[in-house]
Amino acid sequence: MGFFWTVSATVVLLAITWRFLGSYMAAVFDGRINYLRWLERLIYRLLAVDPEQEQSWQRYAGALVVFSGVAILVTYTCMRIQQHIGINPQHQLDVKPALSFNTAVSFVTNTNWQNYSGESTMSFFTLMVALTVQQFVSASVGIAVAIAMVRGFVRKDCATIGNFWADLVRCILYIMVPISFLFGILWVAQGAVDTLGASVHVKNALTGFTQSIARGPMGFIEPIKQLGTNGGGPFNANGAHPYENPTPLTNLLSLVLVLAIPFALTYTFGKMAGKIREGVALLGAMVLIFSVWAGIAAYAEQRPNPAVARGAAVTHTVVRQKAGNMEGKEVRNGASASSLYNIASTQTSTGSVDSANDSFNPMGGFALLTGMMLGEVTPGGAGSGLYTILLMAVIAVFIGGLMIGRTPEYLGKKIQAREVKLAAIGVLVMPVTVLIMTAIAVSIHAGRVGALNAGPHGFTEILYAFTSQANNNGSAFAGLNGNTAFYNVMGAIAMLMGRFAVMIPCLALGGTLAAKGSVPAGLGTFRTDTPMFSGLVVGVIVIIGGLSFFPAVSLGPIVEQLSTGKFF
């Protein structure tokens, strides 16, 4: 019953944010929102940028890549010198080079994969100045790319797709900062910790038990971690930590924050395209897949944990598992709401967790893993969800065009060889990266030693790691020990591929389409604002994901589910 209300509340809140955040974002990128004009202008002056001067897709992509490169360097440097720079009451040491590189790439690519334990690695300086800054910036870069790509669809005979710097600054000032700050206040009111104080030592007078409690400036980091679909928690336990996610209310709002922007961007898309229904068609595809996967996970996690059942059986005891699989979950959140949180975070490229993915039942783990394998489009990350599903939509109209023997069109643009090639590259980068890297990892010793669990579950840990990083997700089957030279470097490459090898084809597609004229819709035009088209997009997503990954998934969660009674 509680779960029913949780789902209802989520749906209502998301419906509201879809409509209003969606149109607000369209207004922001149109330059119509300007209550912080003084600050915006000041930044443009410092950057020597004229926000009205638009860029070709090549210049847009160039600015983005150079900016991301500098961001990686700055983030890396912060970690390498944190010992000497202050705001470090815990006296954390400088972070090692390989780990710093992996982490810098991870936060700049919006992945937030963490090969370290937050409370014992990062100084508060690094946390605030390196990592939190990237949580704002990387999400905004993603959204900027999506908006630039959409401009390509809606413009005619135009050489430019917007100004990268203006899009970036507007997204940060008008979307990311205000929403995060408001929710930060709520988070701290609910019990999230927010201090620059060192860990505190407390002694329980009743038991004599002493405890050192790590703290930090987490309260206001938590909302941007979720809103920007980042997921990198300051504590190792991430959203399971009561200081990060203190109550069921913050648990629910985490879910809503994660899903808000990716879903609302479909409204923004429809609004920019001049026809909301075009956005609704994509939203429909996202919601359908998301609901099915959330259903699988919620059902699986309400089932008993087989290892707990076996533990009870060998000791001739009855252990009731009415609450579902509670291994790795928090009592206050419960099994169902926890599975929903993790599903939302894996399907949005967020990767924050309020329970241990590794301890999900086999089909729960299957849902988490395959949710990412579908390409993070349901609804996907902030910006990355929309730009990737637009690639899927291009392929869908192409397949639709083949069926009826007509040159496909999307939003009045002819989809020709060049567009289809770009979309195919963008869609195939991720599966190719994941499969090759997993194959390398399981073939060599350095890869195999990382897994904690034995048997098929260990394989899933490795497959999950590369799927997560190549999709810029950042969640983990956290038993894997990723802090080795092998995983740090391979992971960083996967994250860079998953980010830039998808973004650049998207911008190229936007640029190419912007330069084209538009063809008026006729009787024979395949309509893209109908449930039929949603269905076709779902088909494309599932078929591409299934064809790419079915063999790999069979070796992991599927075999695990089927080996009833066997333990590894």
């Binding site: 950057l47 600015a63 334990s117 703290r215 200081y243 629910l252 291994e327 979950k329 309020d354």
Partner: protein, 177 residues
């Protein structure tokens, strides 16, 4: 290219000032002024009700078998078909049985944070008899304590009902005196 580079460097500095320092310190200021207790970690006399502790023996209500080390949080990460998990669960069942407590799923599994401060109402009720016996208190009195410490769903609909172990044990200690 050089223009991009210059702008990227300036932008990085601007964002460090604005987001790294500005945003975080503004948040810290709000926290300190309005929510000092929460922002400092809700630390009370015997620890923080948000952070789980070790309560060994049937003298106290027990929490989940976590390591309860807030300097190293996180889950055990054992899979649903892990032999290690089977043996951990079996060991914990044996411990609870020795103390006369009927094992429940929460009490034999570890949490996501490794510091879960709560147990379900069922976990608490199952410990009532053992706790009452070992403290020489009447069972009804201890049961009454649990009744008074069950937190319902938040806003009536969210999450699962739970009992905070620290709060319950502090009340138990007061009862003993």
């Amino acid at each position: 290219m050089l223009t991009h580079l210059r702008r990227s460097i300036v932008a990085s500095i601007v964002f460090i000032v604005l987001l790294g320092f500005g945003y975080n310190y503004a948040g810290l200021a709000v926290s300190r002024v309005f929510f000092a207790h929460q922002a400092n970690g809700s630390i009370g006399k015997n620890g923080s009700p948000l952070i789980g502790q070790n309560w060994t023996g049937p003298h106290w209500f027990q929490g989940r078998p976590d390591s309860d080390n807030p300097l190293s949080t996180g889950a055990a990460n054992l899979g649903p078909r892990s032999k290690l998990l089977v043996s951990d669960v079996a060991k914990q069942i044996a411990v609870l049985k020795r103390e006369g407590i009927a094992p429940t799923a929460d009490l034999v599994t570890t949490s996501g944070s490794g510091i879960d401060p709560d147990i379900s109402p069922a976990d608490a009720y199952d410990q009532v008899k053992a706790v009452a016996d070992s403290n020489r208190l009447p069972v009804w009195q201890v049961r009454h304590l649990v009744d008074a410490h069950v937190h319902g769903r938040q806003l009536g609909i969210l999450g699962s009902p739970y009992v905070n172990v620290l709060e319950l044990n502090e009340a138990l200690a007061a009862e003993k005196h």
